[in-house]
């Protein structure tokens, strides 16, 4: 007997804990367990499906007869009940009552509805389980921007003109207040589409009938609007492999939950070098022409070679209104290779004779299509597989935008076709070369090949004019540029002549001359 009491006490204690934790449990004296579940726990007014108030019974007598009464108290304080008998054929089973249809009541008021279940058979217990459910006006209590708020209310006179208002702070949102007639059942339904830039925070939704007796409590409910999540399409790059100095393009699309494309704000792209440590950042902004977010990263001749990773971190994209995304990291990779320099040699098609100068004008451009100006450019002349001269260093001429140099053909140089190879390089491994051929004739005099007689005549005229101008310019250069101011010279010389030291020298010279003369006279 003492043992069975102990078991009963333990079961009672266990069930008591369950009640305390779940808030919905009670245990009758016979040892059954009761659990009340309200589904859904929240609904909106006029919901035709109602709320299922399910009582789960465990450790039931089998067989046995049971009877329960559900009582629901609405937010106005009014209550409605329903009773259901049960013939137990198992140790555990459920029995449900649907509110409001089983209660002859309605879901016309917003607020909290209290449920209490009493046992009538086999024991008499006024409260074996309690619960709650909530009724509101909207389908949810919080929304992301761009979501649609569905509002449903009931309990109005058929066709009654119902005023609808949505207020943020003290101000109605755009389009509200408005009005709508209740349908023949007295229900009112409408939707409010939130926008990407809707103010964040609490909104108050309220409805009031014109002829319907004022509800108690009134149809008022608050909803909260949060920033929305922006979704990005996969990050793409225009070129998987680029050469240094080329620009790497990235793009992606961004959308709101409602499918609308985002066109404001920006996202930082983190570009990580192959060393896995060095980070560069470039901003992706909306490109109106392509309707995408675009970032361009121009590489330079010194950028690290290898595989780079481009990343848009989660929540790093922010539009102009504070909405952000993506929820997961977007990533792609690309490879940077050394630049192949384009070398174009502007050579003359003429024949170069002994003593003539072969000019070298070389344009060196990087893959990014601008001039290569820092580095080394040199020329090597080769004839019949033998290096004639080189490497000859070329110098970059800023004004010409070209690398320049020259070579003067020597008497000992071979006659024939020469190939000049220009090699451009820098300390970072970027390299390129170009070649051109030219004719050299060291046997004859300096001439120009393939010139017709008209060209020859033209050359002679130009040379003649040049010589004439040169002769005219050379005539009297000294007299034109150097003024011989004799008077000033003599004046300056007289100043020096008065110097004591010079006079001392002159005196010594005079004595020396006299001494030499005396010695000579003595000898004679």
């Amino acid at each position: 007997m003492r043992g069975s009491r102990g078991v009963l006490l333990a079961v009672t204690l266990f069930l008591g804990i369950l009640v305390a934790v779940g808030g919905l449990h009670k245990v009758n004296a016979a040892g059954e367990g009761f659990t009340l579940t309200s589904l859904p726990a929240r609904t909106s007014e006029g919901n035709a499906s109602g709320v299922d108030l399910t009582l789960s019974v465990t450790n039931a007598a089998n067989p046995g007869s049971y009877s329960f009464t559900w009582t629901v108290t609405d937010p106005s304080g009014g209550s409605a009940s329903t009773t259901k008998p049960v013939l137990s054929t198992a140790a555990a089973w459920t029995v449900a009552a649907k509110y409001p249809s089983d209660f002859g009541a309605s879901l016309n008021l917003v607020g909290s509805y209290d449920v209490i279940i009493a046992e009538n058979l086999p024991s008499l217990n006024s409260s074996i389980a309690t619960g709650q459910f909530t009724v509101g006006l909207t389908d949810y209590t919080s929304y992301q921007r761009t979501s649609t708020v569905h509002v449903e209310a009931s309990g109005y006179l058929p066709a009654d003109n119902v005023t609808i208002n949505i207020v943020y702070g003290a101000t109605s949102v755009s389009g509200y207040p408005s009005s709508k007639n209740a349908d023949p059942t007295g229900a009112v339904q409408f939707s409010w589409q939130t926008a990407v830039d809707s103010a964040l925070g609490n909104y108050t939704v309220s409805l009031a009938g014109t002829n319907t007796v004022a509800k108690n409590p009134a149809d008022i409910q608050q909803v909260i609007v949060y920033p929305t999540n922006i979704t990005l399409t996969p990050l793409r790059t225009g070129s998987i492999v680029v050469q240094r100095t080329e620009t790497v393009d990235f793009w992606f699309n961004a959308t709101y939950p409602n499918g609308a494309f985002v066109n404001t704000g920006s996202a930082p792209l983190r570009l990580m070098e192959p060393d896995g440590v060095t980070i560069h950042t470039v901003n992706a902004i909306y490109d109106l022409s392509s309707g995408t977010y675009h970032a361009a990263y121009p590489t330079s001749l010194t950028h690290a070679q290898g595989t780079w990773t481009a990343t848009v971190a989660s929540a790093s994209f922010t539009d102009a209104f504070g909405n952000s995304g993506p929820s997961t990291v977007q990533q792609t990779s690309f490879s940077i290779q050394r630049a192949t320099l384009a070398v174009s040699l502007l050579s003359s098609s003429g024949t170069y004779a002994q003593g003539s100068v072969i000019p070298l004008y070389t344009k060196v451009t990087v893959p990014g299509n601008y001039n290569f100006t820092q580095g080394a450019v040199s020329a090597v002349f080769i004839s019949s597989g033998r290096t004639i001269v080189g490497p000859i260093s070329l110098v970059y001429d800023q004004s010409l935008g070209k690398w320049t140099g020259s070579y003067k053909v020597n008497r000992v140089d071979p006659t024939g076709t020469w190939v000049v190879t220009i090699i451009a390089s820098d300390n970072y491994g970027n390299i390129g070369q170009g070649t051109a051929s030219l004719n050299v004739d060291t046997q004859g005099t300096q001439t120009s090949a393939d010139l017709g007689w008209v060209v020859w005549l033209l050359v002679l005229v130009i040379v003649g004019l040049g010589c004439g101008i040169l002769i005219l310019r050379r005539r009297g250069v000294i007299h034109r540029e150097v003024k011989l101011d004799v008077q000033a010279i003599k004046q300056k010389a007289n100043e020096v002549k008065g110097d004591d030291f010079l006079q001392s020298i002159q005196t010594q010279l005079k004595r020396r001359a006299e001494r030499i003369a005396a010695e000579k006279e003595k000898r004679d």
Partner: protein
């Protein structure tokens, strides 16, 4: 070879008003040109403030026991400071006796501070002349008008003034010629580094103009030469590149010097 009398040494001071006129280059090349003709040539570096001849002769004065500074200070006899260059330069029978100046700053300062007497200098020249039987003694002086250079100008038989054709240099050259004329020494002019745009006839015309106003005669002229500039004072063109047109010019100057009265 034109025979010259023994013991009649012609001392020639090579001078200029401004630095960078090519004075030392001309001295070295003319000395070699004369030596290659079989002459016994003394070359003395009297550019005490900025000696440069040793570079042409590929000598390091700091490695020598004595220099001209020691001679002028009375520390050493002139022949002790003289270096015979003939074998080193393979001068084909001619001789060059080179007296370098010290490149040590302390010795340069000592000489400039203490100065030296005309007689000391003259005795040194006479000693070299007697010791080595020189035909010519070329004395490379410091540019400008200073005490030591005035002494050199005074003691030498001839003065060769090197000038470029620019306004400042011509002015100073005129002053130099005027001063030199007070010492009753023949003054000869060499115009150097003549730009290519100036014709020879114009150079000669200018020289005649100078001669009309000052007591100076034209010893020759030299065009601007990239080969000379490019040698960076490290090579004597007359010796290294005897066929070079500039070597021909230097030999012409040597001929002019030989014709000095």
């Amino acid at each position: 070879m034109r025979p010259r009398r023994r013991n009649v040494t012609r001392s020639i001071a090579v001078h200029s008003y401004k630095g960078g006129t090519g004075k030392t280059t001309i001295t070295a090349n003319v000395a070699v040109a004369l030596a290659l003709k079989g002459r016994r040539v003394g070359v003395m570096d009297m550019d005490l403030e900025g000696p440069g001849l040793h570079v042409f002769f590929d000598l390091d004065p700091s490695q020598l026991r004595f220099t001209v500074n020691d001679v002028l200070a009375g520390v050493a006899p002139p022949e002790a400071a003289c270096v015979r260059m003939s074998e080193k330069m393979n001068l084909n029978g001619g001789e060059i006796y080179y007296t370098p100046a010290s490149v040590k700053v302390s010795e340069i300062m000592r000489t400039l501070k203490e100065g030296f007497e005309l007689d000391t200098f003259e005795n040194a020249i006479r000693r070299l002349q007697e010791k080595f039987g020189l035909h010519y003694l070329l004395i490379d002086t410091h540019p400008g008008i200073q005490h030591d250079t005035l002494l050199a100008l005074g003691i030498c038989d001839h003065q060769v003034v090197i000038s470029r054709v620019d306004q400042q240099d011509i002015f100073g050259t005129g002053v130099l010629v005027e001063i030199s004329s007070t010492m009753d020494k023949p003054v000869h002019l060499i115009l150097n580094m003549i730009p290519p745009r100036i014709r020879e006839s114009e150079v000669l015309k200018f020289a005649r103009t100078l001669g009309a106003h000052f007591t100076v005669d034209m010893a020759g002229w030299l065009p601007f030469s990239e080969e000379v500039i490019g040698s960076l004072s490290k090579a004597i063109l007359t010796l290294k590149m005897p066929r070079n047109p500039m070597s021909q010019r230097f030999r012409g100057l040597a001929e002019a010097i030989e014709s000095f009265a």
